[in-house]
């Protein structure tokens, strides 16, 4: 996928989530009660598959060993990270969730194959900075 295609996938997902939150304002039962802080799209080199995910905690969520081994370098999943100046808990960002969904699509994929869109804030669709944990984990 091109960078633009990956960006569009993340942007569209951000829009779907934002609209779902707004629909709740009109009395429908929502999938999303509050906006997630971020969404991202993840694909891999030479792949047409892409997975969009949003920031959330990892309770009841199992990471593939390939992602888990990477996350362990910065700390225990759900715990604080050892990355300086990053307050996000390990595994809670949109990036590891999307990376995990993507890597699960093939046993042949390695973390080095993964490609990420910019991170987008669904409420405003603005591009936000990758955090210190994600920079350290995925080399963003």
């Amino acid at each position: 996928m091109t960078r633009q295609e990956l960006f569009n996938a993340a942007y569209n997902k951000a829009g779907v989530i934002a609209n779902s939150v707004i629909r709740r304002h009109h009395g429908n039962i929502p999938k999303y009660k509050d906006y997630p802080a971020a969404v991202i799209s993840c694909s891999a080199k030479h792949s047409n598959i892409h997975k969009e995910e949003h920031s959330r905690s990892c309770q009841h969520y199992k990471f593939d060993f390939r992602i888990l081994n990477l996350l362990k370098v910065i700390g225990n999943v759900d715990g604080p990270s050892n990355v300086k100046d990053c307050n996000n808990k390990v595994g809670h960002c949109a990036e590891p969730h999307a990376a995990n969904e993507m890597i699960k699509t093939s046993m042949r994929l390695t973390v080095g194959d993964l490609e990420f869109s910019p991170a987008i804030r669904p409420r405003t669709r603005q591009i936000i900075q990758y955090c210190g944990n994600c920079k350290a984990t995925f080399g963003l």
Binding site: A18, I22, R24, H25, H26, G27, K33, D34, Y35, P36, A37, A38, H54, S55, R56, S57, D78, N87, N88, K89, H92, C93, R121, P122, R123, T124, R125, Q126, I127
Partner: protein, 150 residues
Amino acid sequence: MKGYPYREDYMLTHDIDWFFCHNGHAFHAASNGGVIPKEILSGMNSKIQETVYGMKEPEGVEVEINEYYIRNNVLIGQQNNAKDIEKQFTDYIVSFSAMAKKGFISLDRKEGNEYFWVARPKELGKVRVDMFDKIPKFEKMPVEVEILLD
């Protein structure tokens, strides 16, 4: 009214609408992954959200946008062609101006726990405060708002 408190994990990964009154004005704030003041998170916010989302827009509220600040501080450098810049601007303000239409001074959070205003009713004096009787009142502003309201 009953609600539930937010877990820290949830706050850090979500962009929550929360509300307060101060000095006769009603405020909406977007948490943007920040920690909500403890007076707010102790229970009722999810119920207050429902009340606010169900509120009718009062008639005749004109909205003012903090356009210069947003264009020059918040969105700067994100897009490079004029059409995308305009789209980015309209995408950015939509949730805040919807709150301002309901009579709220609408705030967004930047790094740290500092907030800035995005949209507000043009004539604050015309907003009837009795619409906001369910919203928690604070003597002191619960957050730092960088650009003070004139």
